[in-house]
Symmetry: C2
Subunit: 488 residues, 2 copies
């Protein structure tokens, strides 16, 4: 341990940010065997004071090292070097080949859990002890029959439990056979595209919209049809005129991703009407409707779907946690056979152990209790961030937009600022802020009044007003550097 602290010094003039230097030093020490497996690393507080840096800087470095598997948190017992790492020749480590962080592709869920990371629920608030007990009980009850090939479409009990949940919470009825369990939303898209889509067909996509959806349809050879988003959500009438022939429309009706607006009822009806007329399919990506903190969650688009045109996608990544790797899709009865026929090539990858554990979590009522608690918590944590931002910035620089739910904050930037440049600078400083314009399909000129210019920030893991203030201060430094100097 002493050897580690002694050989450690940081270079403020180095072109990598401080947290990255710490990350690199610790990682090298581990790989060279200087930090032995199982040994404790200094606490965040200790190392921060030793190095004369902010605790957040060390936290970022440790977070990254943990996410990459080099360190392991043992709770009260501190943080240790992971038990099962062997020496890795430094010349071949991927991170060593790229010591300066590359700009993060916005479609990538980042490996690390840096502040503002999008798509992360409040990890500290997840009932780990309850979950632990459920999984431990399931594993104890594993029988020989549970070890064989699992059902390609998902475990029957989970499909039934989800059907009941959707009826109670999302206002529509479906049969368990219409539900396919998938390892997350990406796997849902992959299953749908593989079974229902042909290269060259068109798809309406919200613009700006979720980059993962864009990436999947692009890779599938789709004709991407960007549809503007305004205060009522996707502009359906524009799309009907411009692109009447699309095979799919993908929407996030509850809280548009990323702007957070709700698709209006008249737009919902127009969308359903178009799909029925064209015999096209609507994919409702209902990724975070559970978290509406003003009033009740809206009924789903699927609940209005009398003609069987809506494919409904849900995920446990936001309501439980991302490492679970589990989501699901509900397809209309007319599509069950087609999707089932494709399942041998894309069988459900979520291990039955976790599927039955999620079933228990739902059936025992923990899921309802947890999402209910989170609605309240997220309203509070969003408040921490929104207040800190409003206090720190004038409206000409940064403006917090209204928001009724969701787990990310979307702020508008003044037109003299470039969101993509700021997001890149922020990432270089260890803040996982994203630019709205990076979520656009149809890139617009700076002068275009329709050009969105804003930042996206995840807030569920901001646990106090103090923390929000400290993070916003770091962001303010980035923004003032961006407005002062030429783009880095």
């Amino acid at each position: 341990m002493s050897r580690f602290s002694l050989s450690f010094h940081l270079d403020p003039q180095h072109n990598a940010p401080l947290y990255r230097q710490i990350y690199q030093r610790v990682k090298t020490a581990i790989m060279e065997g200087k930090l032995e497996t199982g040994s404790r690393v200094p606490s965040v507080r200790t190392l921060a004071s030793e190095l004369g840096v902010a605790r957040a800087t060390v936290e970022n470095a440790y977070g990254l090292l943990t996410a990459e598997g080099f360190l392991q948190s043992r709770g009260q017992a501190g943080t240790v070097v992971s038990a099962s790492l062997g020496p890795i020749p430094a010349s071949l480590s991927a991170a060593d080949r790229n010591p300066v962080p590359k700009p993060i592709n916005p479609m990538l869920p980042s490996l690390s859990s840096l502040p503002f990371q999008l798509g992360l629920p409040a990890l500290d608030a997840f009932p780990r002890a309850i979950w632990s007990r459920i999984v431990a009980r399931q594993i104890r009850h594993t029988s020989i029959n549970d070890l064989g090939h699992p059902p390609l479409t998902g475990v029957a009990a989970l499909r039934s439990a989800i059907a009941r949940y959707l009826q109670l919470s999302r206002g529509f009825t479906c049969q368990p056979e219409q539900i396919f369990i998938c390892a997350g939303y990406a796997a849902v898209l992959d299953l749908l595209i593989g079974s229902l889509f042909k290269p060259g067909e068109g798809v309406w996509l919200e613009d700006p919209g979720y980059p993962v959806t864009q990436a999947f349809f692009r890779a599938a050879g789709a004709v991407l049809m960007p549809v503007n988003v305004d205060e009522e959500g996707m502009n359906v009438s524009q799309a009907v005129v411009e692109f009447p022939q699309a095979r799919f429309a993908v929407v996030t009706p509850a809280h548009q991703s990323p702007t957070g607006v709700t698709l209006s009822l008249s737009r919902r009806m127009a969308l359903l009407e178009w799909a029925t007329r064209q015999q096209s399919w609507i994919i409702e990506d209902d990724y975070d409707s559970e978290f509406r903190y003003h009033g009740q969650p809206l009924p789903s688009l699927k609940s209005l779907d009398t003609q069987g045109r809506v494919i409904y996608a849900g995920t446990f990544s936001k309501t439980m946690f991302p490492a679970l790797r589990c989501g699901y899709v509900v397809v209309p009865e007319s599509l069950v056979e087609k999707v089932e026929a494709y399942c041998p090539l894309r069988s459900c990858a979520t291990p039955p152990l976790l599927q039955t554990s999620i079933t228990e979590f739902l059936e025992q009522g923990h899921f309802y209790r947890h999402t209910k608690r989170m609605r309240q918590l997220y309203a509070e944590r969003r408040g921490f961030l929104a207040q800190a931002l409003t206090a720190a910035f004038s409206a000409e620089v940064l403006q917090v937009t209204e928001q009724i739910g969701g787990i990310q904050l979307c702020v508008r930037l003044g037109q003299h600022l470039d969101d993509a440049d700021i997001a890149r600078r922020a990432r270089e400083n260890g803040l996982a802020v994203q630019a709205v314009s990076d979520w656009q399909i149809h890139r617009r000129e700076a002068a275009d009044p329709l050009r969105p210019n804003g930042l996206l920030m995840g807030f569920p893991n901001i646990v106090s007003a103090q923390q929000a203030q400290a993070l916003v201060e770091r962001l303010a430094v980035v923004i003032s550097a961006a407005s002062a100097g030429p783009p880095a």
Copy 2:
């Protein structure tokens, strides 16, 4: 319970086999609420004697119901109706729409664990208690950082552990960065095809060969190039002449799937030479090399690969169990970047909880001990089946071929018999036998001397000579019916 037994009667004249009738009755009783959640169903012995059928018939029915999630085995406490099933309207159950079992597509891992099921290791012999303890400990030690987005390419500790395992057991060295964790072999193929393959490119495939591989390349728009298999494995020199331009060659060098032959050293060298010359890629599907029960496992093809042309695929489905949903692929260093770039669209779906548990299972030596025990056990269990077959059939009807390893038996049928017809009849009688000719790409006429005519049978779950004998008797009834009557 009494209501259930009372209302129960079987119809031997019914066109569905007896086990299927039992399956259907129990399932209907559950769906109609006549059998309540959590209630015990009669033991196999009791129900078999009540209905006057063989115990194996009831076992088949219960196995299918368990696989589909309707029943749950509680070990000593008996078998119960799954805790979380709600009433499912009978009119919409997929199984009800198809009361007579459809012929099983050979590429489908069947939902059920019928006798002779291929691809299943000995489920009774897996150290469940040890595994249970490891997973329970991992889940107890879950920290907040373990809940976020997992690494797209797999958990670092598991990649390191696999690298060490491969060096010790498969004779080649690789860096953890070359290893990508995937949810099984299908996910490996999907990742490789998505990142390295373009529609219209050609691929050498063993003929007969594993149908899953064929299905993936067919779906990817590949030109399938079938290469004959003889007693030295894939006929490489034929392929070099016929199809010099292929982009990929997929081989199962340890024990060719399905014939079980080992790819000879001269063929291995010829294959490597071709790939180096053409700058093509060899995919070594090393699905069961751990189970060579005469002598040591052969070194892998990858261990001869001085030019970096071999992509090595391994799986834990056979060495541990299929419900784990975990495999991996080792790519040459020159391909790491390309495959990594595709990972956002096909990120590792195995939850980190199970990845770290597998790591422990490897690092604590359980994996080595288990596969070593299995080598011995499989030699014994293969013996049960081989002896029962040899005793029951004359060589003109059925002949057991030599085999040095693997977890399936390949038998040759007399040319007056049609393997596909027999396999279909066997499946209708609850035996998961497959026909070698169903594994062929290039279907051949009955008169063609190159036409393989044989059956494939999984043996790891045949636990005694008595059981083998009873199963072979059932198969004998099927075969004699097939040779007597016209194809059903």
